[in-house]
């Protein structure tokens, strides 16, 4: 047990060190959230400001948790890329042949993915005042916990895919097939009210919808656009997280 905890810590530590050293990745990590925020957020807000009855600020408030969710989605899924990368460049062998359990490798990776997502999320939160988004301390704590839970689940999903992928191209292809639909069907950009039935169906199948809904619950005073009760959201994300990490551990244990 102690060995496993130590294993988790070592795997986590290495990923974090790498993230902060790989300057291009770090810079993308910082600029991407800000870019999405300003381009998508501001652009769409002014569009909505022109057409909609309510002001543009309303849409900014609405879309901000969506962008937060999007960043978490991207970062988490792609941080599992490190497994494919390590396989390609040989370091995975060093890890696999070491006397640490496969389980602690998966958990360590899932936690490092969550940490990096949280870091990205915090960068977004720093911009919040500029966009007239009001945050207080309890809200920030809740947001961070939500990000951690969501990204833990999503990174696990990424690991699940990465454990079966032998090539970088294969991983990227699957990811692109997953990321875009998950993003568009999450309600990140539009309210989940009065959707066509089939679309509602798909949206409800998407775990990210629940995270974004929960983030909105925490951040918005106006509750008109919420789709589910808060506890349902938390329940769904938690179940998703447990299922994903279990599957990831199971599948990763099968790799030889």
């Amino acid at each position: 047990m102690i060995r496993d905890l130590k294993g988790i810590y070592i795997i986590w530590l290495r990923d974090i060190k790498r993230f902060f050293r790989d300057k291009p990745r770090l810079i993308t990590g910082i600029t991407r959230p800000s870019l999405y925020l300003f381009i998508l957020g501001s652009g769409l807000s002014s569009a909505f400001g022109m057409f909609g009855g309510r002001g543009g600020d309303w849409y900014m408030d609405f879309v901000y948790p969506g962008i937060l969710g999007m960043i978490v989605l991207f970062t988490s899924l792609f941080s599992a890329f490190s497994i494919v990368w390590d396989r390609e460049f040989g370091f995975l062998k060093e890890i696999l042949v070491a006397p640490i359990s496969r389980t602690s490798i998966v958990v360590g990776k899932a936690l490092s993915g969550s940490t990096i997502s949280l870091f990205q999320g915090i960068i977004l939160l720093i911009f919040a005042p500029l966009l007239h988004i009001k945050l207080n301390f309890p809200m920030i704590i809740k947001i961070c916990l939500l990000i951690l839970l969501t990204s833990f689940a999503l990174t696990s999903l990424g690991i699940l895919i990465a454990s079966r992928m032998k090539s970088m191209q294969g991983f990227n292809m699957i990811m692109n097939f997953l990321v875009m639909p998950m993003f568009f069907l999450s309600g990140a950009m539009f309210p989940l009210k009065e959707l066509p039935k089939w679309l509602e169906y798909l949206v409800n199948l998407n775990p990210l919808s629940y995270s974004i809904d929960a983030l909105r619950y925490v951040m918005l005073e106006d509750r008109t656009f919420l789709a589910h009760p808060f506890f349902i959201n938390i329940l769904v994300i938690s179940i998703f997280a447990v299922v994903m990490i279990t599957l990831a551990i199971f599948v990763f244990n099968l790799t030889d």
Binding site: F89, F91, S101, D256
Partner: protein, 326 residues
């Protein structure tokens, strides 16, 4: 002597290619056991199965009493590895790579610190220990990997082409350390190589070709299989010489590089007679004692070639450079 690795009819098939074909052997505790064979012979595949990275298609292997398929975690606990292909984290420093290793192998912090310094000294990387591995040359990376494999004293240390691409000096130093380690810690060493001179350091050698062990013995006994001396001649007409030699009492006639090589019992008497009787003009002639090279040659009819950087490795390098430029 105790048997520490026991392998029975171990086989690995990749689709329709049999990389390792019913290989059986035992390794004794405290021994340096070598797998000698050309590229693609199945050396790495065998190691991968023994160290639990690949499941065998059939057959069994027991290491330190643990079955490598049923008791993987136990096996991992008692082995150490230096892989053939690069396996360092480029974004960590040399020291951090070693620390990572020491941590996953559960070495006490104090001991780890001492050993890290020790092994860095051996491979002469002490002054570069805080540099990112990214900036290391190929040879430096290799040295660091060897250093890493030596940090934890495993029961069995696997070295897959450990000194590939190292200069002779470093190679000697690494060998000194390996022998020292074996003496002091009673570590069993399983290594693969296609350097013949390196194989001579082993207590026993298995010669492997196309997935099969074709000979297994001590280096001295193996060399005894090539009786007498090796003569190499180059003449104006090798073909007619060949016909002539066939009539004489010589063994293992082999053509390579426009030369003919064969074995005779007594070169001192053979050469003067040969020169006198030869109808062809002799361009060059030489005689020498047999080496493991000759053993391999006489067993398989081919030479073990020096390895160049593999295609995959080159591709990786290109890929890495591309990434850095972006």
């Amino acid at each position: 002597m105790n048997t520490i690795i026991s392998v029975k009819k171990l086989t690995k098939r990749f689709k329709n290619l049999t990389a390792v074909n019913e290989v059986s052997f035992n390794v004794n505790e405290g021994e340096i056991f070598g797998f000698l064979g050309p590229n693609g012979a199945g050396k790495t595949t065998t190691i991968d199965m023994l160290c639990t990275l690949l499941s065998p298609t059939s057959g069994e292997a027991v290491l330190n009493g643990y079955d490598v398929t049923k008791n993987r975690n136990k096996v991992r606990q008692c082995i150490g590895l230096v892989f053939q292909d690069p396996s360092l984290d480029d974004w960590l420093t040399a020291k951090e790579n070693l620390e990572f290793h020491a941590m996953v192998y559960n070495i006490e912090r104090k001991i780890a610190k001492k050993r890290i310094d020790e092994v860095l000294e051996i491979v002469e990387l002490k002054d570069r220990k805080n540099d990112l591995v990214l900036n290391f040359s190929g040879g430096m990376k290799r040295r660091l990997e060897i250093a890493r494999g030596l940090i934890h004293y495993p029961k069995v240390l696997f070295l897959d082409e450990p000194t590939l691409g190292l200069d002779p000096q470093t190679r000697n130093r690494v060998w000194e350390y390996i022998r020292d380690l074996k003496e002091k810690e009673n570590i069993t060493i399983f290594l693969t190589t296609h350097y013949m001179d390196e194989a001579e350091n082993c207590d026993r050698i298995a010669i492997i070709d196309v997935g099969k062990i074709i000979a297994m013995d001590t280096p001295i006994n193996l060399k005894k299989r090539v009786r007498g001396d090796i003569i190499t001649v180059e003449t104006s007409d090798n073909r007619s010489l060949n016909e002539e030699l066939k009539k004489k009492k010589v063994k293992n006639i082999i053509f390579y590089n426009n030369k003919i090589q064969f074995e005779v019992y007594d070169s001192e008497k053979f050469i003067p007679k040969f020169i006198k009787e030869s109808k062809e003009e002799i361009i060059s002639i030489s005689a020498r004692k047999p080496t493991l090279d000759d053993v391999f040659l006489s067993l398989t009819g081919k030479k073990i070639r020096e390895e160049t950087v593999s295609g995959l490795d080159r591709m990786r390098k290109r890929f890495k450079m591309g990434r850095m430029r972006r």
